[in-house]
Amino acid sequence: MSAGNSFTVEVSAGPASDTSSRVLARVGAVALTGLAGAMVTAEAVVAGGLPQIRIVGLPDATVREAADRIRSACQQSAFSLPGAKVVVNLAPAGIRKVGPGFDLPIALAVLCAAGHIPPDRLDGIVAWGEVGLDGGVSPSAGTLPVATAARRNGAGRLMVASQALAEAALVAGLDVVGVDSLRDAVAVAAGHRSGARPGPVAVSHSPHGPDLAAVRGQHVARRCLELAAVGGHHMLMVGPPGCGKSMLARRLPSILPPLAHEEALEVAAIRSIMGERVRLDLRPPFRDPHHATSTAGLIGGGSGVARPGEVSRAHRGVLFLDEVLETPRATLDALREPLETGRVVLVRSQSRVTYPAAVQLVAAANPCPCGRAGAAGRPCTCRPDQVARHRSRLSGPLLDRIDLHLAMEPVSQDVLVGPSSGESSDVVAARVVAARALATSRWSEFGAQPSGPRARMLTRDVSSDAVRASTGRPAQRRLARAIEAFGWSARAFDRCLRVARTIADVDGRDRVEPADVDEAVAHRVDLDGPS
């Protein structure tokens, strides 16, 4: 114990290259809390005691287990370890360290303390990767946010597994080097080898998923989908089974504009902490969780540090909730805050994490429990109270956020067998891009600020004052009259006006005409039916 004090004295005296027992090795690492990373230093020193590697500094179980992996890896890689205890401290010791990504920095620190790497060669190096028993280095979840944190904190160099090289290289201005094994890592750190360098950043933005051309008929539904793509409006589809609700929803990403670079990085960061393979993908994500998904699964959760839920995994893309009325109401209501603010804040005993969650919600539901209400031919067998209970699952506050309500009907036989006449996704996507450009330039002109951390201003999110200011009085008067005639609440006014604004944008007009308002009203079908 008394030895501990003398080390710090030695450190201030500068690097000691002659004797391994006096070296204090330091390697940078990053402790992730959600997407946010804090710089951590893995310090290692050879202390007196029985031969072992002891890790201190609030490691969790995965980090503590690193000791055994590293010991075996060193043996396999023919690195001798000191015949005494090696103490590794992860400083600052107040932050919890989670994940096998700490293996590589700890291993480097241990090997440096053992004299295999000169301590000064490790200055400014941040390492992140998992070490196997055979001495191999493999990628660990969270490489991208680690790289971002390293860059922000002025680290000069990031060493990762070469498989994670492309992911780390997404962060510009950082010297990234990839290694395959512990031997490799030591050679690179010591300067004997240069290590693998990242190639040019690969960007995939080819249209993916199913094409809109396969949708037969459904002119009204297509129109609705296009408006949703332009304004980012949330959308609810109600119709009997088999009328093409999910078919349509799956085609929404194909007409959405490609993501901006920063948006794609946000999406990639979420994928990275989920441990998925990460590329820079400009295609908006599409997530369709099952209706039995729990609240934690949908918005994120877990003990210790909460993990992102489906709503965050759909960030900057589409969250499709099929059979939305089968989802418990409490789970759906949890979506209200993310839809409002574009992010999820999850507080647990040991952490408070914020995940981005700017999603476009597309929900689909049957009109009644048996699903046949409104379908020609087969009568609905539900009691009115069953139908009422079915529909009440979608709470008023959530329903109020959904601008587009689409009542879908089964496609008739002649449309099904006829030639496919619809436009393809490319044609529609081009119109969407043009209309969005119009909207974006107008909102910046209005000085409208989107609420929440968002890169783009969508008509869905701009303040209602801006929406009102950009639509003329005649259109607003027309809307007020229509809403009165339908007996809707005043809340419908704002949502309809946004849709009318989008309709004018789609048609390339700066003025919102009364006809646009009329169409917007038709896109808000009363779920409760007549009277």
Binding site: H219, R383, R481, D518, A522, D528, P530, S531
Partner: protein, 391 residues
């Protein structure tokens, strides 16, 4: 309307009873009867049954009322609730009690009326059916009610969701108007979707129709109470049409009462496999008339209203014959033609867009304009013209 009886103002409820009493109804007698009924429902019901067997139930029940009770807080609350709900109450035998009820044995001891009740010589039909209505049933109910109302025929129904609501909704703005016979007190928000500002019941009253009830203001809709009000529906009309209902539907009760009173019963044929066809099917087997169109309904009226009357009423509508008015106003010609051809069947929005070849945006805008103008209605099974385009 009525000179306030100084005696009444001293009773429980202060001036309330004078406000609540309908034209020609004595507030003091009303107060006595209602307080007795509220204090001793069973004894009062016995008295009323006895009174109904006399030649003049009104006088008989008044006698029961005056032998009643001390002013009670209950009576005061009843008077206040009716008064705040703008309800007028007529006693049996009073001029404000609908003559049709007096003529049959359906007359209740009192009738609480909100809005204006039609005179006896106005032809009237009841359009009744299941709460669990299909879009077909609702569409037919609305079609019949609309045509009947346009021909100056008053539409009576029970104010429930489903068929009743479709009938009231379609008739409320027509010449004929509509009356809701409640199965509960005026103060009870039932059915919930129809109560409250801007909802069906308010709209009925605003459009000149009426809400009537034989219950005290707070009495909830118990099954026996709802079935009992069906007798009022039957007694208030010349023809009862059962649109849709299960084999145990309350609309069969209405039809049975109608048969007792010698009132024509019609039934609308439906899909024989559907559960909602049970009641009409049984009535048709039992000899009810077939109602396949508004013509059948109007022809069944004893006043002998036929479509000639309809044309006169139609001519009185400022926008002239329906087809030309419709095409000229808001719908694109092609879309109007598709809807007119399908009449009275509904057309789904998707089919309308496909068949009329009108761009979706234009079509949707036109549909809203037509809905606001009252030319088109939209239900779960699609869109339908409000008026017969061939007339």
């Amino acid at each position: 309307m009525i000179a306030a009886d100084p005696g009444a103002t001293t009773r429980a409820g202060g001036a309330s009873w004078a406000h609540v009493a309908a034209a020609g109804t004595d507030p003091q007698a009303l107060a006595g009867i209602v307080e007795r009924a509220a204090a001793d429902p069973r004894g009062f019901a016995t008295d009323w049954r006895r009174a109904l067997h006399t030649d003049d139930p009104g006088s008989a029940i008044r006698a029961a009322g005056t032998q009643a009770v001390l002013p009670s807080p209950t009576g005061q609350r009843v008077a206040q609730a009716w008064s705040e709900g703008c309800v007028r109450v007529a006693l049996a035998g009073d001029p404000a009690m609908p003559e049709r009820l007096v003529a049959t044995s359906a007359q209740p001891p009192w009738l609480a009326i909100r809005g204006a009740v039609r005179r006896r010589d106005t032809p009237a039909v009841a359009i009744v059916g299941s709460r669990r209505a299909s879009a077909y049933g609702r569409g037919i109910a609305a079609w019949l009610a609309e045509a009947a109302g346009a021909a100056g025929v008053h539409v009576v129904s029970g104010g429930a969701v489903g068929i009743d609501a479709a009938a009231h909704g379609a008739a409320l703005d027509t010449d004929g108007g509509t009356t809701v016979v409640l199965g509960c007190g005026h103060d009870v928000a039932y059915p919930r979707p129809h109560a409250g500002p801007g909802k069906l019941f308010e709209r009925v009253v605003d459009a000149g129709g009426a809400l009537v009830s034989e219950s005290l203001p707070h009495e909830p809709p118990r099954p026996w109470r709802v079935r009992s009000r069906n007798r009022l529906i039957a007694a208030l009309v010349d023809v009862v049409v059962v649109v849709e209902g299960g084999s145990r539907s309350g609309s069969l009760v209405t039809a049975t009462w109608a048969a007792d009173y010698g009132i024509t019963v019609l039934a609308v044929p439906g899909d024989v496999r559907a559960p909602g066809s049970g009641a009409p099917l049984r009535l048709l087997r039992d000899g009810a008339g077939v109602c396949g169109s508004p013509d059948d309904l109007l022809a069944a009226l004893p006043q002998g209203i036929d479509r000639a009357r309809d044309d006169v009423a139609g001519g009185a509508v400022p926008d002239g014959p329906a087809t030309s008015g419709l095409v000229a106003s808001s719908l694109p010609e092609a879309a109007a033609a598709v809807l007119a051809e399908a009449w009275p069947r509904p057309v789904t929005m998707a089919d309308l867009a496909a068949q009329s070849n009108v761009a979706a945006g234009t079509l949707l805008a036109a549909i809203t304009a037509a809905q606001v103008a009252g030319q088109v209605t939209r239900d779960l099974d699609g869109l339908r013209l409000c008026r017969d385009p061939h007339r």
